[in-house]
Symmetry: C2
Subunit: 471 residues, 2 copies
C-alpha cells in the first residue's frame, strides 16, 4: 500500500495532463512542477555529449589498468590533471595518500587428480602469496559460506576450501551483497578453520573464463592464506569434478609481491558565483583493478561526473562551486573517499554524487537531501523523467567513496544505473572500452547535467575564468 | 528465380495439404514423400536424448582439453574406448598415428611505449617460440592481409606485424574463410618480408579477452616466426594506440616446446545385417585446442554422432554397418581424417557425415549422394523438416576430417548447424560445457538419428550383439 500511494503521487506530479478524481482518503498531492527551461535545454544538449566518451576512451587507451598504489595509477593522475586542465577546470590538484597493494605474479590452479587439468584463477586482493612452489592439497567444497561456517575444523584443516554460490543478475545489483559473501567472509573463515588456501566461484553473473577479482581482508586476526577466484565456468567444472565423489587434489599457485605505494585523489572545480556556499561534489574513482582497463569500473564514472560539470561550465557560472573528485584507491578499500573525508568531511556539501556502477542507462534517481529540500529533490525527479528515469526514494543515496560521508549525514543523490550486465564484467579482464555503449553513456551525462544544473543553483552567462587563472 | 522455384518445389513436397494451381510453365513436381513411421518415431524419441549430453559432459569434465599428440589426448582415447564399449558398440578400437605438436608456455604481449600496458595474447599453432626473453620491436599495423601483401619489405623488416580484420557473425560461418586470412596467410607473408613476429586480431566475433588460437603454417619455405592472436578487445586497443600516431613498441613472449607425439582415431561400430554393404560413417573429432575444454569443438560433435548411432543400435539391427569415428588431431591439420583415408579411403562408403560446428540447432541439410540417390536425399529432407530443418543443396556436403574423402568422390550429408555464436567461442578458453544448450544438442541428435535411420537402410528388431562379443 505505501508503495501504491507513492506511485500515485508521482503519477500526479509527472502526468499533469491526466485528470482523475482524488480518492477521498488520499493525502494532499504535492503541487505540479515545471522543469526549468535552462535545465531542460542543458539536459537535452547533453544527449549528444562527447566529453564522457573522450575521457573514457582516453583513460582506458592511454593508461589502461591503473591499480591503486602503482606507477600506473600515478600515470593516470598525471593524465587526469592534464585532461581536466585542458577542459578548463579550476583548482586542479592531486591530494596524495599512502596505500599498500600487491603486484600480481604467476597464477594457476591445476587439478592433479582424479582428472588432471588446469582451471583459470586470479588472486583476490590481499591474498597471501603461495610463492613459486604453490600449495597442494585436497579440495573440500561448500555450496555457500554458511555451509563453510557450519563445517567442523577437522573437515577443513590442511585442505583447499572451495566455496560456490548462485549469484544471478539483477538490475539494481542487490545480489552483490549476499552472493559476495564467499569473497568477503570466505577467506577469513577458511583461514580460521585451518585451510591452506581458498578458491571461490567468482562473484559474477557471466560464463566467461575471466575470473572476477576484488578486495577482501583477513579479519579477527585470521592468518592470511592464498585466496583466489575461479571463473564461473571453472567453478562449475570443479563442482562437477568434486561431485564425481573421488578425492580432488589441486595445486594452487598465486604469486604476488606486496608494495607500499602512493595513491591520490584528483580534484578540479567549476568555481561558483558565491564561494561561501557549500560545493556540489560529483565523483567517480580513477583507480581500477589490474585485469581489465577499468572502462566500466570506473573510467566511465569519472567521465560522466566530469562531462556533466564541463557542460555546466560551458553554459556559464553556477551559483555554487562544483567540485569534481576522481578518487584514488577505491578498489582497495575506499581509501580515496576516506582521505577526502579526513580533509573535508566536516565541511558542509550541498550534495554528494558518485558514478560507480558501469556505463549503462540510469533508470532511477534516489535522493537524501532532507525534508526541507524536498522541492529540490522533486525538481530533479521531474527534470530526469523525460530520460526514462523514475523517482525512487527521498530517504537515501549511495556511492562507494562517498558512502562514509553520506553515513555522516552529508546530503546526496543516487543516480542508479542499470546493472543487469554489470556483474558480467566487474573486476574482470573483460572490463574494457568495447563494453561501453556511447548512447547509454550520453543518457548518463544528460541526467547528471540536469541534476547538476539544479543543484548548482542556476547558471548565469558571464566571463568564464581565464585559462591562466585555472592553472 | 531458381531459388524461388526450388522453394516452391519444397513447399509442394512438404505441405501436401495446401492445394494450389500449378503455373503453366512450372517444371514437373517430384512426387510427395511420406516419412517412414519408424524414422519419425526414432527422430521424435531422440528429442529427449541424454546420450549426447552424457558424452559431452563426461569428456569435458573428466578429460578437459585434449590437444592432439599430448598425453591428454591419449587419456581421451582411453576414455572414449571405455565409453563406447560401455554403450554397447562393437569393434571398438584405436588406430594410432604420429603427430608433431607444441606445448604452450608463458605468453604475454606488453606495450612498452607510448602507453605501457599488457595485452592478452595466445600463440597460434606452429608458432615459433620466442624463448623466455621474448622479442621486442616496433609494431606495424595493417587493416587486412591485402594491405600486408602490398606493403614494401622496408616497412616490415625487423618489426612486429599486426593484422586486423572485421569478421562478423554469420549463420553458416562463411566469414571464416575470408576473415581467417590473417591467421592462415599472415604469418607466412610477414615472415617472408622480414618481420620478427606477427600478432593478429583473433579470428572471432566476440568481445571477450579470450584469444582464438588455431593452426597455421609457414609455407613456401618461409622461416617460422612467433605468431600470436590478440583477443578482439586487445586488437581494438592496439589499433587505437597505433592510430594515436606515435611509434608503438611491443615485447612479445610466446614460449612453446615442440613435441613428437602420438595421436589416433577411435572407431566403433553398429554391425549391419549385411556386412558386405558399404558402411555409413558418422564422425566428429576427439582432439581439441588446449585453451578450453573443447565442448563445442568438438565434444558435442563426437557425442552427437555416437548418440545417434546408439539410438539406432537400441532400436535393433540396421541393414548397413554404422561406423562411428572420433578423429584425432583434426585441429593440427585434419590428420585423423587423412589417416582414416589412407587406411579406408579407397573402400566405398554409403555416406560420410561429420559434426564439427558446435552444438546449436541444425537449420539446413545438404547432401551429395549422386543423382541416382536423389530419392534417398529427399527422404532425409522430408524426415528433418519437422525439426525446422530446410533442405539445401543436393550437390554438396562438407566436414573437416571427411573433406578430403568427399573431394575424392565419396558421398556425404551436411547437417548444417547454426553457427551464429560459434566464432564467439571457437578455439578459445571459453569453449566450455556451459556453452552447450541441451535442447539444441537434442535437436541435433534427432536430426542425425533420422538421417542415420534412413541411410542405414531399415532397422530390424533382433538379437543385439552380446556384450561379450563386443569386446
Amino acid at each position: 500500500m505505501p508503495y501504491g500511494l507513492r506511485m500515485k503521487r508521482f503519477a500526479w506530479a509527472l502526468l499533469l495532463a491526466v485528470p482523475a478524481p482524488l480518492p477521498a482518503q488520499a493525502p494532499a498531492e504535492p503541487p505540479p512542477i515545471a522543469v526549468d527551461l535552462q535545465v531542460a535545454a542543458l539536459r537535452d544538449a547533453a544527449l549528444k555529449d562527447d566529453y564522457a566518451w573522450d575521457i573514457t576512451e582516453g583513460l582506458t587507451t592511454e593508461i589502461g589498468q591503473r591499480l591503486a598504489g602503482t606507477e600506473a595509477e600515478a600515470r593516470a593522475r598525471t593524465w587526469a590533471v592534464a585532461k581536466l586542465r585542458a577542459m578548463g577546470f579550476s583548482n586542479v590538484r592531486i591530494e596524495e595518500f599512502p596505500v599498500r597493494t600487491a603486484i600480481r605474479g604467476t597464477e594457476s590452479a591445476e587439478i592433479l587428480a582424479p582428472f588432471p587439468q588446469h582451471l583459470v584463477v586470479n588472486a583476490l586482493g590481499n591474498s597471501a602469496s603461495t610463492g613459486p612452489a604453490g600449495v597442494t592439497g585436497e579440495v573440500v567444497a561448500f555450496d555457500n559460506v554458511d555451509a563453510l561456517r557450519l563445517a567442523p575444523e577437522s573437515a577443513i584443516r590442511g585442505k583447499i576450501v572451495f566455496v560456490d554460490h548462485r549469484m544471478t543478475a539483477t538490475q539494481d545489483g542487490i545480489g552483490y551483497g549476499q552472493f559476495g559473501a564467499p569473497r568477503r567472509q570466505g577467506p577469513t573463515i577458511a583461514s580460521q578453520k585451518g585451510a591452506i588456501a581458498i578458491v571461490i566461484r567468482s562473484i559474477g553473473t557471466d560464463h566467461n573464463r575471466t575470473p572476477h577479482t576484488g578486495v577482501m581482508s583477513f579479519d579477527n586476526g585470521a592468518r592470511p592464506i592464498p585466496a583466489g577466484a575461479l571463473s564461473v565456468p571453472d567453478a562449475e567444472q570443479l563442482m562437477r569434478i568434486v561431485k564425481r565423489g573421488k578425492p580432488v587434489t589441486m595445486r594452487l599457485r598465486l604469486e604476488s609481491q606486496p608494495i607500499d605505494g602512493t595513491s591520490g585523489n584528483v580534484i578540479a572545480e567549476v568555481p561558483g558565483r558565491d564561494p561561501s556556499l557549500p560545493p556540489v561534489l560529483v565523483s567517480g574513482h580513477l583507480d581500477s583493478w589490474d585485469l581489465g582497463t577499468g572502462a566500466i569500473d570506473d573510467a566511465a564514472g569519472v567521465a560522466i561526473a566530469a562531462a556533466a560539470a564541463k557542460r555546466i561550465m560551458d553554459a556559464g557560472r553556477p551559483l555554487r562551486t562544483i567540485r569534481v573528485v576522481w578518487f584514488g584507491s577505491e578498489e582497495l578499500g575506499l581509501f580515496g573517499g576516506l582521505d577526502y573525508r579526513a580533509r573535508y568531511g566536516k565541511l558542509p556539501h550541498h550534495a554528494l554524487i558518485e558514478s560507480d556502477f558501469g556505463a549503462d542507462r540510469i533508470y532511477k534517481v534516489d535522493s537524501k537531501l532532507g525534508a526541507a529540500r524536498r522541492e529540490e529533490a522533486r525538481m530533479i525527479g521531474a527534470a530526469l523523467a523525460p530520460l526514462g528515469i523514475v523517482t525512487g526514494s527521498f530517504e537515501k543515496a549511495d556511492g562507494s567513496d562517498i558512502g562514509p560521508m553520506l553515513a555522516d549525514g552529508q546530503p546526496g543523490i543516487g543516480l542508479n544505473q542499470d546493472g543487469t550486465r554489470y556483474f558480467d564484467l566487474h573486476h574482470t579482464s573483460n572490463d574494457t572500452l568495447d563494453k561501453v555503449d556511447i548512447e547509454q553513456l550520453r543518457q548518463n551525462v544528460a541526467a547528471w547535467t540536469a541534476t547538476l544544473a539544479i543543484l548548482s543553483g542556476g547558471i548565469e552567462p558571464g566571463p568564464k575564468p581565464s585559462r591562466a587563472k585555472q592553472r
